[in-house]
Point group: C2
Chain length 452, copies 2
């Protein structure tokens, strides 16, 4: 496959590349709390420059994008690599076995907030470019890199950024490494994502907390108000009762279902991963629910006292945060409107806050360029990758497929049990290096493809 020199160089530089990654990991960059984000952007730009990529910060209405490029006039193919340098909050901190922002290696894994999601995968891309440049002095295709700082906050300004810089970002393919690999450990090439709508419902009772004895039955209880509303929104089986919620859902094609049926499925292994022994779904149900059906998830419900012991109050306020994953062709704006109409009908005093949204996306699986990527991944991992029409998570993939109008593929580099968004987030050391190698193979195969 002609990349022996590249593979050897990666191996020689293992320790050095890990240190590059660790420097980035140590820099907090919690976008939802605005902690250390710009500092991290500056650091990433510097790292990219050191790797031979011409880089700069591009301001948005939110956190800056770190943009980099390596361009040679003669190349007639351009790949745009997308990733994000922001991370989730680390809480509950007490459940971490090592501090969340001190990268620590245990049992062949790097533990740190953001290592899998997404700094380890992003650095694999950057270090692949450095490796290729150090080996060959140039790249076989043009590369543009867009690393945003708001992905964990729903990428609220990415679409505007892409709109504004269409010319700068012009390319033939978008390539993303984010999210976990398939549980089987087999690499995958993923072609679609669910969208998301984030909402918060806030119920207000009296103006302040009351003693539950002195005001019990008199002051209204906002926690009960929310429960009374929520029970009108979803039945016990999880079906959403908001009118029109399921309209516009594109049913899976036979081809897509066929691809799903080819995916490996090991229920026992899944149970271990999920930490839920009662899990019972079969393969098709699992993949279908996970990627082709919407969710109606409560990610937080808070009201009143939650500390040790008890505190007999009637809370003044209750709030529930929800994230609703959407599938093509549900439109977050349309669903939000229906959600609000439902609240207005059943509990008009409850506030609805919009907490961000993202459209779902899908790239056709039968394009020739997809088979090139599949081949490159097969080269890197020496195993045929899974071709997956859609995954459960949300990435702003629609900005490429809809705004730039180009195909978009996702090849995750992190282990399935990376614990992204949870305590003890981690990434396998071996998979980090495999990710560097994979990007090299992708650039190489795209080079061959563009010279045909």
């Amino acid at each position: 496959m002609g990349l022996a020199t590249v593979e050897q160089l990666i191996e020689e530089r293992n320790e050095h590349y890990l240190q590059r990654l660790f420097a980035l990991l140590k820099q907090e960059s919690i976008s939802t709390m605005n902690k250390g984000v710009r500092e991290c952007a500056e650091l990433l730009k510097q790292v990219m420059e050191e790797c031979g990529i011409s880089s700069r910060l591009i301001e948005t209405a939110g956190h800056p994008v770190v943009y980099g490029e390596w361009i040679k006039e003669e190349n007639d193919f351009t790949v745009l690599i997308y990733g994000h340098y922001d991370v989730q909050p680390p809480d509950p901190i007490e459940e971490w076995e090592s501090p969340p922002f001190e990268p620590t290696i245990r049992d062949g894994r790097i533990y740190c907030r953001g290592v899998g999601d997404n700094k380890g995968q992003l650095m694999a891309q950057v270090l692949a470019i450095k490796t290729m440049l150090d080996c060959y002095g140039e790249l076989p295709v043009n590369v543009k890199l867009v690393f945003e700082g708001e992905e964990e906050n729903g990428s609220p300004h990415l679409a505007a950024f892409v709109e504004e810089h269409k010319e700068l970002l012009a390319c033939d393919l978008v390539y993303t490494s984010d999210g976990p690999m398939h549980a089987s450990g087999i690499p995958s090439v993923e072609l679609g994502v669910r969208g998301i709508l984030g909402v918060e419902l806030v119920a207000h009772g009296a103006k302040w907390d009351h003693h539950s004895g002195n005001m019990g039955n008199i002051a209204p209880n906002p926690a009960w108000m929310l429960i009374d509303l929520l029970k009108t929104m979803r039945d016990e089986k999880g079906r959403v009762l908001i009118e029109g919620f399921y309209d516009h859902i594109r049913q899976p094609t036979d081809y897509e279902l066929g691809l799903f049926r080819k995916l490996p499925f090991d229920r026992e292994e899944l149970i271990k991963q999920i930490g839920y022994p009662e899990f019972e779904a079969d393969a098709e149900t699992f993949y279908r629910q996970l990627s082709l059906e919407p969710t109606f998830n409560i990610c937080g419900f808070h009201s009143g006292y939650g500390g040790e012991g008890s505190k007999t109050i009637i809370p003044a306020r209750a709030s529930v945060k929800m994230d609703i994953r959407l599938v093509v062709d549900q439109d977050p704006a349309d669903i939000f409107q229906k959600f609000c109409a439902h609240v207005k009908k059943h509990a008009p005093d409850i506030e609805v806050l919009h907490q961000g949204e993202m459209k779902p996306s899908r790239t056709p699986a039968d394009l020739e360029i997809i088979s090139v990527i599949v081949q490159a991944v097969a080269d890197a991992y020496t195993v045929e990758p899974l071709l997956v029409p859609g995954v459960g998570g949300s990435l702003p993939d629609y900005v490429w497929t809809q705004i730039l109008g180009v195909p978009s593929v996702m090849v995750p580099y992190a282990n399935a049990d990376e614990a992204n968004h949870a305590p003890n987030e981690n990434m396998s050391v071996a998979l980090f290096f495999k990710g560097i190698s994979c990007t090299c193979h992708v650039l190489h195969r795209l080079g061959e493809f563009s010279q045909k």
Copy 2:
């Protein structure tokens, strides 16, 4: 009324008595968090000794009782004064206008956690005894004082303490000052309390939090489990659906309803107090719901992320803390059994934790001793007090009426808007001194009564 010297002495000592109170207020004593409780008990014992009361700590299986007495062989009437030196947690701390454990006077009120509930009222009793002793060298009746340190935690060991020390505690009447005065500012003599049952429901989903995209529709959501259960327990009108919940409730007598109808009722003033402009009940509904009907209150509901912004997870755990106020003759043990049976039937995997209980209590309103107390309170406040068959809150009154088998009266000394259990808890400076005076009048009238 013959207590002019006493009233004068109280006035002369205003500043000095406030300082005595402040010393006690500064000492944290959060029973549910075990913060500073024993230190407060020791301090209180010392203060009582300085006031001429023979005092000691009596250990219980929980926090100690501070017991004091002033006994003269010749006296043939004994009143037992009950109160508590523990306080509620101060959170949410950010809503306090001055630090919760630094007593601060603003606009004629002392602001401090525990000032109304119950340290200010308790110190009024102690300082009344000091005043009477300094005036007359003796008291007209024997006095025993029981100040416990676990009232805010549901008085879990008070019943055992009373059982064990029946002889030591032998008395003719129990007198308690706790809770707020009537909203009209007219003093009241209260004869009953609601009971309470504290429960916590804990639902478990997967073993750890999951990314809501990567596991949405797969990992179970414990917040939804709780909501699905809670909606089977109570309808939208607040009626409890647990089988047998309303059995054994003693309906109000005509005499009790008559007493309620005599109570003042000012809806506009109540709305201000409650901080809930939509409040619409009439007088009878209000008093009846507040003191003769049970509640089904959620005092805390917590699951998942509650900080700034959003965090797209499926929480691993959800918990709801409830306090259920009970009325005679509901029995907390019976209600708990029915609650558990309901959970077992509808959601057997959800854990039920018992968080303490207390029986309801009522003292007959037609006893002669009640009229003595009514007269003493009228002397102190120069207005006829309200006679109230029952109040909304819970105090361990049943330990006196059922275990000691004596009448029990409650005369609250704190202002109606004391904000007990809430931020900016306060007590009117004038009412603090009025409380001292009231206890003096009570002791005086009881002395007269006992010499008849």
